[in-house]
Amino acid sequence: METLSHLAHGFSVAFTPVNLMWCLLGTTLGTAIGVLPGLGPALTIALLLPITYQVAPEASFILFAGIYYGAMYGGSTTSILLNTPGESATIVTALEGNRMARSGRGGAALATSAIGSFVAGTLGTLGVAFLAPVVVKFALSFGPAEYFSLMVLAFITVSAVLGSSSVRGLTSLFVGFVIGMIGVDLQTGQPRFTFGMSQLLDGVDVIVVAVGLFAVGETFYMASRRYAGKDEIVPLKGSLYMTANEWARSWKAWLRGALLGFPIGALPAGGAEIPTFLSYAIEKKLSKHKEEFGTVGAIEGVAGPEAANNASAAGVLVPMLTLGLPTSATAAIMLSAFQSYGINPGPMLFMTQANLVWGLIASLFIANIILVILNLPLIGLWVRLLKIPAPQLYAGILVFATVGTYGISQSPTDLVILYLLGGAGFLMRRFDFPTAPVIIGMILWPLAETQFRRAMTISNGDWSVFYKHPLSLTLLTLAFIGLIGPHIYAYVERRRLRGPEHVPGDA
């Protein structure tokens, strides 16, 4: 109950007109930068850091938190409409969301993502308020061995996105591994696959790869088929928002996404991408409309991952506020803002800066409400984008992708990479290789490799760490069940259908 009185106090801080104004400004700005590929929340907050010299700490953190949450909402818009993810956390949203937009359900995809973000964001923020001390204990028990086992589990589950041909899917996945390895190896400091170019030493940005493969590749493919086929995009079919059936299919996915996103977001090396992959895989597995995945677009495949990424955004705040641990680029920059006020974030923050922390948490609730109010009416405006004739629309996407990529690092090298990958994306599309596994491979592989080598360094080369740690063993067991479970299930089903008289030894 103590938490409730703290929270009530937090609302009294957040509900002052000035702080509400900062919250509105932050969420609007966040939505805008989320829509633009290349401008992420981390960069925006870094550029706004000098504001900390002018305003009170509460005001600037409310602004930053608004930007952070807003970017998570906005990032999905371009993923769905243009197949151009603005944030790495919304890459999975593009998979089904863009299919839905093409088959005339763009409005529903945007609605489920906005409402799902609201539901998950609110649940996640409740988690920050009430569960932070418990969750952080769980998060700290994750060592390199546990992370590696989590990656194994993730690799098993992402087979869901490999597509119909596993050879093609695995080829794409391995291409992703190689792209993920480009750059200086963190463990040894040695460059890999950089061909002597200093611009490649930091690796390739995942947004550049996603935009190159999805948006640029798609544009080339459309251009090549311009006179061969007809326009594929259906402007709008049925109601603008969600139908009753779509609501029914969405709400469980939102809850499952939030349940996955929040704890994984709270892990020091968790991030927002892995829960979105896992959520997508789970929704595909549980859906009664599997045929819609990858064809006309399944709403569960948008609802789950969108909820997961917003809940993980809240999860990231748990180690930041309770331990002073920045677990994402955005959190790290918010921590440096704490420092410019002479506040040292750490285990004492909840006590020493109660005003600030509870004001921030309260403003997260408010930001969520503002965001859903801001985003729902915008849907009507956004879907009109799809009425633009294909040549103009795709030309626009190309300009948008190029400018956005240049915005990430102002590096001409990135533009070359973007168009090379666009060419690769075109060829992959032409010869029917799925592009999503490339992205998943490039995100998961470096994590798995780093954690594996860390675990082995710490254990001094002893493999038993992976099965002697209970948590790691649990995760590996889950992965094993995920791998052979479906086969056993199929086998049992087959036997059941054939009937008992055919069971061997039952003569």
Partner: protein, 325 residues
């Protein structure tokens, strides 16, 4: 017409005056010039914060009228450095922020350019490093840690920042003075201080080395034990010996400083040194440094150049021992 012509001429004159002020000759120093700061790192990191804090303090002290900050990030600064050398050549009103990390990155990345090609202006701040262990660790003192390291370095995994960075370098130096071969060390690099911290709090590793600021709150809360710091002398409010006091003859500051481009005139160089020195001695700068746990270690001009040469030699030797150069 006449009015308009007069107006145009006066704006032209004002423009010319502004242009002259850009060149930092001492006579114009009072006129609060505009300066340009080149940051060879993405926004948000230590170098970027140094640049933005300098901008803030210089403006509040009315030493400049404003500044323009350019970020070219990547590979520990070795992507930005060649650009600063070639494209900013001779620009007397500009500065680049750099530091020990770049010295290490130049060596490890075998970069074609190095810091002897730019003009040293001033070493400004440093962050000393801390050697910490989890609260439950059997190591009570730095001597315990070194004894365990000597007994079997593979049994003492130490967490810190990226391979070849300041944390790894300090670990190498500690081992070297203890007579432990650097090749046997078990160093576990993490991308950021936060991740290394979580490995320590979760008792995944035996010890951790990073900037004191990364650990200070956990030390105060009793979750980590501070064994020693790498500063030159004991620090007020920190209850731990220096490495030297603990019998390990190592001193290390992860320093940050500023450089002018190559080819600037002696007058511009002198003016820039005066400007930066005035800033570093202001109260506003002292407050900012205190808030950010930066220790002021001001060193200018030729002394700075001499220090840079010595530090480069020391870092090159230890990186070679660690197998990174």
């Amino acid at each position: 017409m006449l009015n308009r012509r007069r107006f145009l001429m006066s704006t032209a004159a004002a423009g010319a005056a502004g242009f002259a002020a850009l060149h930092l000759s001492p006579a114009f120093a009072q006129d609060a010039p505009q300066i340009q700061i080149f940051v060879p790192a993405a926004p948000g990191g230590g170098w970027d914060q140094t640049a933005r804090t300098m901008d803030q303090v210089l403006r509040s002290e009315k030493l400049i009228s404003g500044s323009q900050i350019t970020n070219v990030g990547g590979a520990g600064g070795t992507v930005g450095l060649p650009q600063f050398i070639s494209q900013w050549n001779g620009k007397g009103n500009s500065l680049m922020v750099a530091g020990m990390v770049m010295v290490g990155a130049i060596i490890a990345n075998k970069s074609a350019n190095n810091l002897t090609e730019v003009t040293p202006i001033a070493r400004l701040t440093g962050e000393f490093e801390a050697l910490v262990v989890p609260a439950a660790s059997p190591f009570k003192t730095a001597a315990d840690f070194v004894a365990a390291l000597k007994a079997d370095p593979t049994k003492v995994p130490v967490a810190g920042g990226s391979a070849g960075g300041s944390d790894h370098i300090l670990f190498g130096l500690i081992a070297k003075t203890a007579g432990v071969p650097a090749a046997n060390l078990s160093y576990v690099p993490f991308a950021g201080g936060g991740e290394a911290l979580s490995a320590l709090l979760g008792n995944q590793v035996a010890a951790g080395i990073s900037g004191y600021g990364e650990f200070s709150e956990q030390v105060k809360a009793g979750a980590l034990r501070l064994l020693a710091i790498s500063a030159d002398k004991r620090q007020e409010g920190i209850d731990a010996p220096t490495l030297k006091e603990a019998g390990i003859d190592v001193e290390l500051f992860n320093w940050r400083g500023v450089f002018a481009p190559p080819g600037v005139s002696d007058a511009d160089k002198a003016a820039m040194i005066t400007l930066v020195e005035t800033m570093a001695k202001s109260d506003a700068w002292a407050t900012e440094c205190k808030n950010r746990n930066w220790t002021q270690i001001l060193l200018t001009g030729d002394d700075y150049a001499k220090f840079l040469a010595e530090d480069t030699t020391r870092i090159a030797a230890i990186l070679k021992d660690l197998g990174l150069a």
